[in-house]
Amino acid sequence: MSATLQNLVNQPYKHGFVTSIESDVAPKGLNADTIRMISTKKKEPEWLLEFRLKSYEAWLKMEEPVWPNVHYPKIDFQAISYYSAPKQKPKLKSMDEVDPELLRTFEKLGVPLHERMALAGVAVDVIFDSVSVATTYKDKLAEVGIIFCSMSEAVHDHPELVQKYLGTVIPPSDNFYAALNSAVFTDGSFCYIPKGVKCPMDLSTYFRINTEESGQFERTLIVAEEGASVSYLEGCTAPAFSSNQLHAAVVELVALDNADIKYSTVQNWYAGDEKGVGGIYNFVTKRGLAKGVNSRISWTQVETGSAITWKYPSCVLLGDNSVGEFYSVAVTNHYQQADTGTKMIHVGKNTRSTIVSKGISAGHSNNSYRGLVKVAPGATGARNYSQCDSMLVGQNSGAHTFPYIQVANNSSQIEHEASTSKIGEDQLFYFAQRGIDAEAAVSMIINGFCKDVFQQLPMEFAVEATALLSFKLEGSVG
């Protein structure tokens, strides 16, 4: 059985092609001049340049975090290029104007902007390296007052909104990578849902890193005004390079009274080869501020890629009765390392949070859940339920759980459940004895294990996630 399984191992990374589009790449290295250069290239207002320079100053004084349960050689931040844009420029009015090579890339990625997304009613903002190249459905959304555009456009067209919210959930000094992002971010998505508007379709952004030795520092900001709601989907891929690339994104969400933001991610950055060479360093800061009463922030993530993942999508539950949710599936194989989880900070009264984390470790990989549940003194009646399940595949993988619970209000209720299980030869033999081959068996076991999370994903993503996981783990058992 193991021999057949071995053949299924190490399926090539299917997004591992490089698109030969000429890029406008900045020289490597980071200093105040690089930041001025980025700001100038992007024709930014003075306040944003100041924001960047202050962030840079803060970053210089900070140390790389060493507490995550991941190991890698020290990153040389002067060996990275901080700006890369596809050369073919001016503003595009329709998809027909997009470089055909780029469109072919999207096809290879399985993102046919033209047809499928249109049929699915998804508006897509595509970030290619650092610059947004196409935004669909913008006009349709504008009819109901929704702004959905690249961060660069937002800076030019809606500076007052960007200035009001940028850095309010994740201040530049929050952590090392957030500071770096705040200094050098080149693009990202901006989304604003006005008062009382329920966004009529799922909004989607597809990120891709194309250039070797370029970092991707996208910045996403989503604001839902009173009574507004939006569901946002993010997918990520990158070509296969033998060097490691840095991805240090920042995502900020703000939900005002009775607003609802649902943020779903399927992350499939290049994970390195089966020996652990290459792959993305995915060091991301994501946080939602449930600012208003009865507001709700929900994170769903399916993390399958990256050589190293360091990511804790969090909720600050400031408004009374606000709700925070975190549903996560993190899969590691070969030599991947993931240290991921969430933080639920209960500040308002009667705030509730739910954490469901499913970690799957295969090959020689290490998968850690790290989570904080914090209840502030004033958070009377706060409740949290956490469930952390780990599944080990094969003999050489590791699963770790680091739950932190800090409670300063004795009216709160905190529950934590955890389990560890294993896909073994015996389970696969049992399936085989009933006529089911190893591939279908692994898929069924993994789907069963992850179903609490997959149920939270929008339909299209759920199908993709299921396929991705089976693909990822095929042959890793035995």
Partner: protein, 264 residues
């Protein structure tokens, strides 16, 4: 039941096998025809369970000699899942728990997979629900079995019933029941045995692997084989089981050695 001239389902000749380098089976011979019920008995460590796992294709065992023909085909040419689809069914001594996988979904996948390979129609979830509920009546199982994770938290009796339910669904040519009586109370034993009896027909064959005679009060075998040290050393009718029950296994071995000595 023994039918004259019925076709051979399983023909084992001189089967030898090892696990981790230790020889467990040392020249096992057995012929099973359609319609027959065989019981393989023997002391612990005689190789009974090893034999049943080898027939199903467990990768921990290495076949080092001999042959096994199943319905005229070399069994070792087939992967474990292909054997199952061709009609080899093993009721596990210790059915495996699969947390998170819902029993009804598992049962439907296995049923449809096997049906497809036999060129028959798949059932959709609603049709399957009707089908499986009917089969469950045979084993007096409550419908809530369907909503639980496969074997997870099942009692010993529930696990064994779930095995026989799958046997009922998959309609095997050869059903090997590995210590199906172990861990069953008397009521569960009666229910399981009753289920097996109803499934036995002139087109299939059943091999019961058991340590005790108890099960054979309910499922009456046509042949009883005694296994010792990796081979079958005595074969008789159902009365042999009763004799084993009263006299133990030792005398069979002594007698076997005496016969072997006389022949030499």
């Amino acid at each position: 039941m023994i039918y004259p001239d019925s076709k051979i389902v399983l023909e084992v000749r001189g089967l030898c096998a090892t696990v981790n380098g230790t020889e467990i089976l040392k020249g096992l011979d057995l012929t099973v025809r359609r319609g027959e019920v065989h019981a393989i008995m023997g002391p612990n460590g005689s190789g009974k369970s090893t034999f049943s796992k080898i027939l199903a294709g467990h990768s921990a065992y290495e076949v080092t000699g001999g042959s096994v023909m199943f319905e005229g085909q070399n069994l070792f040419d087939l992967a474990p899942e292909e054997r199952a689809r061709a009609g080899v069914f093993l009721a596990f001594q210790y059915p495996i728990e699969i947390p998170g996988v819902i029993n009804s979904q598992f049962l439907r996948l296995t049923y449809n997979t096997v049906q497809t390979h036999r060129g028959k129609e798949e059932l959709d979830p609603l049709e399957f629900d009707d089908y499986v509920r009917e089969k469950m009546k045979l084993l007096e199982m409550s419908p809530d079995f369907l909503e639980r994770s496969v074997n997870e938290g099942f009692s010993g009796g529930e696990k064994k019933r779930n095995e026989i339910l799958q046997m009922a669904m998959l309609d095997p040519r050869l059903a090997i029941l590995d210590e199906t009586d172990s861990g069953l109370d008397i009521d569960a034993l009666r229910i399981v045995a009753n289920g097996v009896n109803q499934l036995a027909n002139k087109d299939n064959a059943i091999v019961l692997v058991t340590h005790y005679q108890r099960l054979l009060n309910y499922i009456v075998p046509d042949y009883v084989h005694v296994m010792e040290a990796g081979r079958i050393i005595k074969t008789g009718g159902k009365e042999l089981a009763l004799e084993l029950e009263s006299r133990g296994y030792d005398w069979v071995g002594v007698e076997h050695k005496a016969v072997a000595g006389a022949v030499a």
